[in-house]
């Protein structure tokens, strides 16, 4: 495992009466690509701004490489930021924008020239030195913003929803580019997004946040396949979340029926949230599966169909590569290993945010 570079210790922050971050403990490793994922207002941007030095936490500490940097201003941190709207200096050309940091740091003009070349090559914009930044496309401005940041050889690069202003194709492209730059430079990337697809496809680790609290930290596979609570299950990907009761180890009761699963360690008769991914549900002929139901809605997405099935008064979401017709009688089948059992939230803060 890579060594720890940044540690947030019990960080909390409020704006006026609004608590935006609370009890944040997080360890960020050297060279990793870590994503802060959550709905708007979950505190992810504030967390990024605290790491960048643009906000000071009300309580807690920010440790960088073993040193407390909680009160260090942004210009004295070995951290650079790629802002959401790029924030390029419109009165300077591409070259002057990139040279801004090294010039302030008092580097020689030879060094700066080499660095500009290297940075532009890194972002695939060789030869753009003299271009006017206001005349570049959104994607190009984004690349310049990245070049302007990495040219300072920061230990950490903070990226605040940098892809949100780009169109879909460009966004996909930039995702690959960012991962490549991360691997090539070895700079730690802290990436903020509300887009779960972005988070899953780019990150080494994902930090899922909601209402100022960290909900789960893990690899993309980890947070997708083994969400720790209903919020994570609901926010990342599509989920059927059902109230259930644990009967004993490896047996859960849903809709009055005992059903085999693989989870253990819950007390007997303990209420739980049961998560089943729509792609894990197989549709079968009536009575062949565990639950009988009726198809209520079919939506074609290109790669697959979203099929709603009403069974036992619950609206199941099923994803299938074969279509069905509305009104058709079907039954649902789920393999025991695809049933994820989660503890019920203990406090209101962990409650599922249904509006996301």
């Amino acid at each position: 495992m890579e060594r720890e570079l940044i540690r947030l210790e019990n960080v909390a922050k409020s704006f006026g009466n609004l608590l935006v971050l609370d009890e944040i403990d997080l360890s960020i490793r050297e060279s990793e690509f870590i994503t802060l994922l959550g709905p708007s207002g979950c505190g992810k941007t504030t967390m990024l701004r605290i790491i960048g030095g643009f906000e000071t936490p009300d309580t807690g500490r920010v440790i960088f490489d073993g040193k407390d940097i909680t009160n260090l201003p942004p210009n004295r941190r070995p951290i650079n930021t790629v802002f959401q709207k790029y924030s390029l200096f419109s009165h300077m050309n591409v070259e002057e924008n990139i040279a801004f940091g090294p010039k302030i740091a008092g580097k020689s003009s030879d060094y700066i020239r080499d660095k500009i070349k290297y940075a532009l090559k890194l972002v695939n914009l060789e030869g753009y030195e003299k271009h006017d930044v206001t005349k570049l496309s959104g994607g190009q401005q984004q690349r310049i913003a990245i070049a302007r940041a990495v040219v300072n050889e920061p230990k950490v690069l903070l990226l605040d929803e940098p892809l949100s202003a780009l169109d879909l194709k460009l966004r996909r492209n930039m995702r690959r580019e960012l991962v490549r730059i991360n691997k090539e430079t070895g700079i730690t990337f802290i990436f903020v997004t509300h887009d779960q697809e972005e988070a899953l496809s780019m990150s080494d680790r994902v930090v899922v946040m909601n209402q100022g609290y960290i909900q789960q930290v893990g690899t993309p596979e980890n947070v997708y396949n083994e969400p720790e609570n209903a919020f994570v299950a609901d926010f990342i990907g599509d989920s059927n979340i059902i109230d259930g009761v644990m009967v004993r180890d490896k047996v859960v009761r849903i809709f009055g029926r005992e059903y085999p699963c693989v989870d253990e360690g819950f007390p007997a008769e303990c209420p739980v949230d049961v998560q089943i991914r729509p792609e894990d549900i197989k549709l079968a002929a009536p009575s062949e599966g565990a639950f009988n139901g009726v198809v209520t809605r079919v939506v074609f997405w290109g790669m697959s169909y979203d099929i709603n099935v009403e069974a036992d008064g619950f609206e199941w979401l099923v994803q299938s590569t074969t279509g069905r017709t509305v009104g058709e009688e079907v039954s649902l089948h789920v393999a025991p290993e695809n049933i994820q059992i989660m503890s019920k939230p203990q406090s209101e803060d962990e409650e599922v945010a249904h509006d996301v």
Binding site: S87, F89, T134
Partner: protein
């Protein structure tokens, strides 16, 4: 626009008539009087008067005082506007009102108020005597005139500068900080270049009235320090010599046009950043 060309031209007519009657024709008259002698023949003698001692001194003094006032306004306005933009969210309406307020007052009135504050038996000197300190000679000095100009024209510097400052995205300043710039470097490398258009209009709006004023210099200069505006006024009201008055006005106009051309040149070279 939604108007077609014909409608637009039609709507423009009242303004064109106005401009012709009250701007263009008077201008032609001024130039005409300026370059003719009393018999109506073409002559540059009156224009040439500017090179004579009294007139040249007044012009030089006018330019010098206008420049000094403009620079002082600029130096006062920048920190003020920076503070105003910083506090935009909370109580800035009151603060900005305080600086707009002098605009609502008759400038003659406020200049006369300065007269009573600065004069020999004025408020300041009465206070000095109360403290048994020697009197200060303030009225009828160049300093008093500059003070009057700065007091009257500062809002014209503050407004355009404030507007151009509020147009700067806060994230741009954060980006500069992020890239290692301290507050001073952020100011000189980012804020200053981005507010040049605002500063330029401020400079024009302060320099021109300061160059042409005769009220401020008459009241605070006590008729001893003559600016070019006072001389022109005297030519018209005491000497009844319209030819000399107009000739001097034309010369003053040349300086104003020069100033505007200079600032316009600056403005276009920075226009792109304003998009």
């Amino acid at each position: 626009m939604m108007f077609n060309l014909n409608t637009r031209n039609f709507l423009l007519t009242p303004f064109l008539i106005w401009a012709g009657l009250f701007i263009f024709i008077p201008l032609v008259f001024i130039v005409w009087y300026g370059v003719t002698d009393y018999d109506g023949n073409f002559s540059l003698t009156n224009v040439g008067l500017i090179f004579e001692r009294g007139y040249l001194d007044a012009l030089e003094l006018s330019i010098a005082l206008a420049l000094i006032s403009t620079v002082i306004c600029l130096l006062l306005a920048y920190p003020l506007c920076l503070i105003l933009t910083e506090r935009r969210r909370d109580n800035s309406t009151i603060i900005s009102l305080l600086f707009i307020l002098p605009l609502w007052m008759n400038s003659l009135l406020s200049t006369m108020a300065w007269q009573t504050i600065l004069e020999g038996n004025g408020i300041i000197n009465q206070f000095m005597r109360l403290l048994s300190l020697p009197d200060l000679h303030m009225i009828n000095t160049e300093g008093a005139i500059v003070l009057g100009m700065v007091y009257n024209y500062l809002p014209y510097m503050v407004l355009p500068l404030y507007i151009s400052l509020t147009k700067i995205d806060k994230r741009i300043l954060e980006a500069a900080r992020d890239l290692g710039a301290n507050s001073w470097q952020t100011f000189t490398k980012i804020i200053l270049p981005l507010t040049i258009p605002g500063a330029i209009s401020g400079i024009t709006m302060v320099f021109i009235p300061a160059l042409t004023t005769f009220v401020i210099s008459a009241l605070l200069g006590g008729g001893k320090l003559l600016l070019i505006g006072n001389i022109i006024e005297q030519e018209f009201t005491f000497q009844y010599d319209w030819h000399v008055g107009c000739a001097l006005s034309v010369i003053l106009m040349v300086f104003i046009v020069l100033n505007m051309l200079l600032t316009a040149a600056f403005d276009t070279s920075h226009e792109e950043e304003d998009f």
